[in-house]
Structure formats: structure tokens, C-alpha cells
Symmetry: C2
Subunit: 665 residues, 2 copies
Amino acid sequence: MHHPDPLVIFQPSGRKGRVPVGTSVLDAARMIGVGIESLCGGEQVCGKCRVRIESGPFSKHGIESDPDNAGPWRDMEGAHITPQEREQGLRLACATTISGDLLIYVPEESRPGKQVITKDARPIDMDCDPAVKVYPVRLSKASLEVPTGDLERLYRALEMAHGLRGLGIDIHPLRALQRCIHDGRGTVTASIWMNREIIRIEPGQGHRPYGLAIDVGTTTLAAYLCDLQTGDVVATASCMNPQIQFGEDVISRISYHLDHADGLAQLNQTVIDGVNRLVEKALSQAAASLDPPPVCAADIVDVAVCGNTLMQYLLLGLDPEPLGHVPFAPANHAGLSIKARDLGLKVGAAARVYVMPIEAGFVGGDNVGVMLIEAPQDSDDTVLIVDIGTNGELIIGNRRRQICSSCSCATGPAFEGAQIEFGMRAAPGAIERVRIAPTTFDVDYKVIGRDAWRRQSSPIDMQVKGICGSGILDAVASLFMVGLVAKSGAFVASGKSDRLRENSQTGMLEFIIARDAETSIGRAVTISQNDIRQVQLAKAAIYSGCKLLLKRVGLERPDRIKIAGAFGNHVDPQMALVIGMFPDCAIECITAIGNAAGDGCRAALLSRRKRVEAERLARRVAYVELSTMKNFQDELIAAMELPHEYDTFPHLTHLLPPGNFDAIH
Amino acid sequence: MHHPDPLVIFQPSGRKGRVPVGTSVLDAARMIGVGIESLCGGEQVCGKCRVRIESGPFSKHGIESDPDNAGPWRDMEGAHITPQEREQGLRLACATTISGDLLIYVPEESRPGKQVITKDARPIDMDCDPAVKVYPVRLSKASLEVPTGDLERLYRALEMAHGLRGLGIDIHPLRALQRCIHDGRGTVTASIWMNREIIRIEPGQGHRPYGLAIDVGTTTLAAYLCDLQTGDVVATASCMNPQIQFGEDVISRISYHLDHADGLAQLNQTVIDGVNRLVEKALSQAAASLDPPPVCAADIVDVAVCGNTLMQYLLLGLDPEPLGHVPFAPANHAGLSIKARDLGLKVGAAARVYVMPIEAGFVGGDNVGVMLIEAPQDSDDTVLIVDIGTNGELIIGNRRRQICSSCSCATGPAFEGAQIEFGMRAAPGAIERVRIAPTTFDVDYKVIGRDAWRRQSSPIDMQVKGICGSGILDAVASLFMVGLVAKSGAFVASGKSDRLRENSQTGMLEFIIARDAETSIGRAVTISQNDIRQVQLAKAAIYSGCKLLLKRVGLERPDRIKIAGAFGNHVDPQMALVIGMFPDCAIECITAIGNAAGDGCRAALLSRRKRVEAERLARRVAYVELSTMKNFQDELIAAMELPHEYDTFPHLTHLLPPGNFDAIH
């Protein structure tokens, strides 16, 4: 008698299915279509995929769930699950293997929220002169006497009607040519790349041409589907970069490649698959709106891509190993135009992908995109642009000179939630704003997906799941301002507030932002001492980078600071100044510029002139490797303090609590 | 209890194996590795795959063979197997399906001989200036201060050392670049296409570059592997065009496409697969010789292809439907350079395929190749070039003008053996020469694979399997000369020779070339009345085509006739004149030029100048569609006679028998 596969039921969704013995709970959830949060992609690292294995007979469900059916406890689970929680049946979904029937409860905290990635496209102002344009033409008739080839007649028609000479044709449109001439009764529309190569033939008038600008971030992929004739963005789609399963930052992805024979192939295929899903997403989004008319993959006749150097490497399938050691020379600086099909991208069959030029080191086409859009090179003022993604990239410059660099360590994780205990991405249920009253230490906060702040709500309505980047930053800044955290980043000894307590597991201090009753995860959401350290590390990397660049150009402070990246849109510039994230600057001179890299990529998609400019900028900008600069270590360590240079922020003193800072030291 | 699959044993090889119920005997033979001739590829058309199903217990083999295990008799088998033969157990291997154990005898006639396709490369004289050349260069070092991209340093080095500017690079060599620079300690070798695109990077000095010229014939594929630095042919390989399973001539392949939704895809994939196997064959041939050093697929950095228009279409995946009707306009006239990978060819990853320009109608790049090599355009004499492949193609021309055309019907099948009763390809066991004594009507003949003629051998040593094209032509010409066949092509009533007999099945006359004892197939090899008709049809197509072209240029006869194609090398020009295959011409002015198309393709592979010339020639040559010419039908019908214009061959009268031709009429 053959035993059926184990039956697995997930609660509260009630979804169930049979899975082969040996399947992990995480994989089973994916197979059955149940969402479980997993930042590390099942690598047993992030601890975000906690589930509870229920015990006992569940006659209603026709199942006897036995925790022994979930495989042996693994040591690494102990890093994320306390002994008490273990007794309650908590396990990591990625670490358990199913050997028999199970009823599994997925706690609120482990359910992925619909992610809010703000990668909206800003209006950009430029002439729309894309690399691919469409030309309708009427062909002369072939005759028995003069049986000129159809292609030759097409070339002649394009020359007569549009002055195009010396054209070539891709094999795909060539295959369609005769059918199109027939179906269009002699009229066809040719899509032509750079006035050089015919990449699409359609009968008659043809479809509107679309292009896709893709910003390949270490953590996030964003795609802008654009009408190539108007320049309008018709759909915006974004998703996690699925490479995150191989590591959260550039260094860990390079390590993955070095440790696995097929690492590069996996990293490459994973991001290509991700981009292809994103293309589908953008297309179905565009299809959902009545106007414009439906767009299909074949209508995407051009693509522009930007990312940091590693992301561009992995998309292209280039071996990133040389990027990891001196002299950090890239394979190429210049932009590349490669057939999308050679990369495996599912867009128009003969479309090309313009991969932006890179600057140096890890500063890639994304930073070129930022420069294209923000144009520090055209500014009389000295502008400091900080692009806070998973990696932090910096530009300082004005009309005379521009210098770029990348921060010395990953700035993202602290602000993406990965290294923060209750950290989560900017998704519904995430605390995004925090304020702490100076004397009562009462906490007010706002949650994504709910307009009313905590004080205007009853506790039960808050349904907090965690805290996202801007919330963490607010929390640390507020704790510092009210004197609960010292300059060093250490909590000031407890007793002042019942919210500041000792963690029963670690013995470390933590501060309660949302109490048990206000959360949907069954416990309080807190900021731990370690969380504060992570924020300090990230802000120190940014601050010291800015400082060293300013020193390089001989300036004390920039005229303006621009914060790029999705996080920049969320962050409260005031709070960022409080914790010393940026060099001193008048608060009104700090602006968030959104996903400037993506906007720049879109500019390159829509304008040939911008591509020429991109190539010029990438060559022209100077690059500084921060880690080789004098005082690098000193600056970094000094920048760990909160705020690094308190005295230089006289205009912020009103925000600071009547402090006993000196007493703390 | 599970029944094992049926056991099938093939004799005389003794090979055996189990195959699933429902497998055809032909497929079973392929699975077990037993060769069975099949021209039609199992389409139940050609009747070449006759096998004998043995009956009874074969204890030695542990098998009880029951003819009932070979599936029901099919009507179409009757076209190839007589009732008597059927009683003896004969079946068509493609029409039988195995349902139980079988012992199957494969008669000699059904065993494929090792094919002799004479597509040897002739020495061609020209400057070797290929499209792809290799350039070794030493790169400057990257430094931390000037971290120039490796690609940019490569471009600079190529410009400094070789004056190359404005280069691009394919994604594949880009992926290899950094590793090669590392492994070559700064020295790399770049293979560059047309001084324009880097298509290969190797560390250090790199390998010798090779190119492949491919002649895609309707029946035969031929490949010449050439050293791109010396121009030498290092390997020659040929095989049947596997598309033959979809039809033997161009019209039947177009029909196959029109009748099947995936016809084009099948035709395309089949020839691509065939070419890929040919590439492997050529490589292993080159590997077998000690000098040159081993060549691998990656060393093939350039490819040139020629074929008739349809063959080029199918290789490119172009829809051939428009070729089949007025105005017969092709998709393109000009040559194309397409990435080999886009066609699925397994050569160097970034290599391009130069597909020769076509002339008009079905006259394609193969004819351009003939013109490139034979250069009628440079001749003061008027040259008539007849390329006898499956299709016949014609050129007439001199320095002033050139006209091309294709014969009105397939000329090949009669000379390839497909439509001839005992016809076979030029393989061991095939009769290739026939002489008949004028009075005794005694027959002498020569067999491929045996030097001694019949008269110098004992009957048993001849081991005749069939008759190939040149043998058929010889036989018909000889029969005509000795008066056994009339001008009309009809056998002269029997009684003159015991070799001329009535076929017991058809009641038609046939002439015995090899008696039972001289063959290995258990019966006499004969020439039937129908065989003579097939030869008449083919020669009439060639003759009338030549005649019409001559008329077009206002000439009675050409100064020279050149016979291209493998068949041309075998054919006895004298015999060809006897049956009236070519217009009257002094016999010493008729020469065989071998596979001139393949030689021309090789020229295009080896010389950029030849590619330019090919494009010019293809545009310049005039094309005549014979079927639209006045008198076309009359000429064709008149040309059926043997010999068409007897009076114009006074110099051949010594070959003719003291005739009673008049008496026949």
C-alpha cells in the first residue's frame, strides 16, 4: 500500500495541500501559495520566517498534527526563537522538513505585507528622441520583370520617404517581412534602431512603440514602461531583486559567486527571470488602464538598464571577481547595446538593451543616471547627492568638477529592515514615523496604511507588524533628542521610562515603540541596542563618505544636499540631521529627489542625446576610493557618534531635549 | 506480471534489442543501430526500405518470429512489393509496426552503402583576406589611480598596435575579457569581424582561426573547414540534407511547409541540425589528422553559406511561400551577416554567418558562388555553365552580359537514383559506367568500389547493389547507340537480345544490366522503360533550358560548356552529348568543374573582396524565367527525343551504331 504524501494545512488562510516528504515548510508554503516572509530566501539566516507547528488532532480538518513531523530542531533556529517560543511550537519555516501531516500557523509578523516600494517616476523634462523610431512606408510593387527583393524595396522606400541610408536588418523582422508586405498591402511600418538597423516590421500602420527603463537595484528592481513617442510613463512596476536569496549586499553576492561553481549563472539567471516577471507586471498594469491601448512584449522595442557596477555585471553575465580586488578595474566603462534576446529578456525579439556606462568601482550606471537628471555638472552651487539604496553612492560636484564615490559599507540593510529586530520593508503595518515626548517619553507613531497616528487611534486599531527604515531613523533620533540614548548610541540607564526595559533573553536594553496590544504579532515592537548600532553604522558610512568628499574638494559644507533613493522620500531630513547622517546644511537646502537613477535611466531610454551625455559624464566624473583615503578609519569611527558634530547644528537645538548629556558620559 | 517489450533481431548483422510495442521496424533499426536505406525518411514513399520478416521458431536466437507481429499489410506497400515477394515475407520497414518478437532480414539492396559524395574542394587561387582576423595585443596595466576599463584598454591597444578604430564587442567575448587578460598576463588575442566587432578574446597568443564554407544543396550538404590564415582546406565533410525526409525537391518542400502548421520550423530545424552534425564531422576529421592542430567549434570564427534560394530561406527560417507564386520576389537579394547563434549553429559563440546574395527566383547564392569561381563575366568567350544538382541551374555569359535561369523541373532525382527502379546514390556497389556492344548487346560495366570492369571479373565478384546517375546515363546512351532504344525513348521490340525482356509484373520492357549472379540483392539489375523516361525528362529540362538561354543571347552554340555539381564529375561528357543533354559543343570544350558553388562559397569565406564581388554579381546578372518564355513548352517537348538534334552531332556519328533508326519509326 502506497502512503500518500503528507497533508499540510496553513492557518489562518486554511490553504492546504500534499507535499513530498522532505519538503521544507517554506517550500511547501510556496507550492501551496501561502505567503511567508523570507528575506534570505530560505538560507536559514534572516529568521523572518517563524511559524508555529500546532500539536494534536484537528478533527475539523481531518488531520493529526505532530510537531515531530517537522524534523529535528536545528541549532541555528535558536538564534531567532527563544526556548519559551520553542516550547510553544515555533520553528523557522526554512529549517523544518515535513515528514508527516502538519497544521501550521503563520503568525502575522511572518506574513509578507503587500510591499510599498516607492519608485514612482517623476516627470522629466526633455526632448523625446529615442533610439528606436517607427517609420511607416509604402513599397513599390515587385513585378515579374523586375523581381526586386522585398528588403531592397523596403530600403529604397525608407530612403525616399525618410532619407534613411545604409540600413541593416535583424533576422527576426526579415522573417516577418514578406508576410507584412502582403498583409499591409504594400504598406509596412519599420521600427529602426539608431537609424541603423530595422528591428521590427509590422503590416500597415503598426503599433505604438514602447520602451522600458529598468533600475536594477541590489534590493529592488524597478521598471518604467514608456511610450516612445510621447515619453509618457504608462506603467511603473517594482519588485524585490530575487538575487536577495544569494545575499543582501554586493559583497555577499560576489562571495556567493566565488563559493559556487555555477554562482554567476545562478545570479545572472535569477535577475533575468526577475526582470522578465517585472516586464509582465508592467504590461498587465498597462493593460489594466483603458488608455493607452494594450501593449504586448513585442511592442517593447527598446530597453535601457542601470544599476551599480555589480548589478550591471550580473545582468550581463560578467564575472564580478575582478571587481573585488585591486585595481578594481571594470570590464568596461562605456555603455553597451546588446540584443535583449542575448540576455534572455522577453521583450521585442530584436530589441536592444542599452546598459548604461559605469563610472568606477561599484559606482555604476545608476549614478550616471542620477547625474543625467540632477546635473550637478551644470550647477554653479556645489551639490552633494547621496543615493541611499542598499549601497550608498555619493556625488559632489558643480560646473567645474564632479567626484563620485561609494560608501564604505552597505547603508541599506539598516534601512530596509533586514538587520533590525522588528525591521521590515516599507509595507502596510510598518511604523514609518516616530515621535517621543521629551518629558513623559510617551510615544506617538504612524503606521503605513493608516492615516491616523497612534494618539488619535485606539491601540487595537494600530495592527503594527514592525518598523521600516524611516521609522527606525525617527526612533533613534527621537530617543537621542529626549535623552534616552547617549551620544555614544548607548541607552541611558533605565528607570526613566517603563518603555525602556531589559530584554529577558539577551539582558540588553530595548525601548518599546508599540506595546503588545497595538501590534498584530502578539508582542511589543521594540528598538534594541543592537538596532541603534546598525543605524549608527549606516549613518556613519554615509556621513564619513560625504565628509571625505567635501575635504577632497576643500569645502566645509555643500550648498545643497539631495537625497536620492526610495528611502530618501520617506526620511525626515530633520531627523537625519539630528542623528548626523549628512554634513551640516540648512534644512531647506536638503531635498529628496526620489529614484533619480531610474529617472536618469528613463532619460537615456527616451533621448539619444542623453545617451551621448551619459557616456561623456561617466568618463568625466572623477572617482575616489574612500577606503584608500587618509583618515578614512578615523572619520568613520568618529562619525559613529550621535550626532557626530552636535555643535555644528545650532539651528537644530530647539529639537533637542533639555539634556543631561554630560551626565550620561 | 508485466510483459517485456518485444525482442527484435536483425540479420545478417545479428544485432538485437527490445523496443516498445508500436515501434516501426525502421525506427527499431535506428534504435538498435542497424542501417536500413530510406530516401524518404520513413514517409512510406520511396520503397527503398524493404526487409524480410522471417517466420518460425529460431531456437538458436531464442525467438519465435511471427509475421503477424509486424502489423497489418498496407496498400501502399503494394507499390514496392510484388504479391510473390509479399508471400516471401517482404515488407517496407517504415510501414510495419512491431507488436511481438521478430527476426528481420535486411537484404543487401536495403543496406545503406557508405556514401561517396564527391564534394572535394578544388584549389582556388586568391588572396586570403577573410572577414575575421586575429590580432594579438599587449594591454597597458590598470592602476588604482587610473582604473580604466579593460575593454577601453583593449580598444586603445588595438588602435595603437593595429590602427583599428570604432570597434564594438559582442557580449560573449566581453564576458571572457577579464579572465583572458588575467590568464594571458596582459596579452590577449582578439578575433575581429570586418575590423568592426570583437567576436572572440583569448589569453596570450590564441588559437588559429578557422572558417567554414557550407554548400546547402537540396540533396547534399557539404562543408569545407578552412584555415583562415592560409586559406587551406583542412577538412571536407558532406552528408545528405536531412530535409529530404520532407520531399526530394524544392517544390515538395514548399508543399510540406504549406501543408503543415509547423512545416517551416521543422524544415529549418532539420537543416540546422544537419549542418551542426556536419560541423562535428568536419571537426573530428580535422582532429584525425596530426597537422593542423586540433580544432574545436569555438575556433570556427566565421561561416559562409550558399544554396539555392529555397535552401537559404529554410536555413534562415524565412517563409518560402512567396517564392512559389508571381512575381516570385525574394525577401532579400543582398547577402546577410547573421550571428550563428541566432540561427542555432554551433560554432564560435559570436561568429557570424555570411549568407550569400541571391540572384532571382530559385537561383540563389550557390549560383553566385559558381560565378565567383568560374567568372564568365571576365571571359571573352561565351560560357554556358550547367550546375546539375537536384535543381539544375544555368548561366550563360561573357564579359558583356550574363543571364541565369533554373531548369524547369528537378534534374536531380533521375541522377540521384530516387526515381529509378534500381537507382541508388553514388556509393559502393553502384554501377557507374555502362558500355553495350553494338552487335552482341553484351554489357560491360564498372561498379564503385571495384577497379576491374565486369569483363575482367567473375560474375560473383561484382556484388552489384544498384545503379547510380552516371551509370543510368551511360546505360540509356548505350542502349540508344546500339539501337535497342529508339529516338522516342521507347525500347525497340524484343527478340534482339535475351537481356531485353518483359517485366513479369508490369508487362513493360526492361533491359538487364547485371544478371542475378552478379548482384548481391538476389535479382537482376535492370533499366526499365520508366527509367528511360525519367532520364529523358531530366535531360530535356537541361537541354531546353540551355537552348532557350542561347536563343536569348542570339547564339546557336556556346564557346564552352562547364558542368558543375558532383554529378558533373562522374558523367561521361560524350554520353551526355549522345543523349542530347547539352547543346552541341566540341567535346574538348566541355569540362567538369566539380562543386563550383561550394568553391565560390569558400572564396567568399576567405576574401572580403569576393563578398563585395558576390554582391555586385548577384545584382548584375539578368534572370530569365524559362516557363514564361515563348516556345518554352515546344522546346521542352522537342528536347525529350534522343538525341534531340541528331544532325547537329556529326562528330559523334562514330559512336552511333549502324542504325535502323528509321525502321523503328
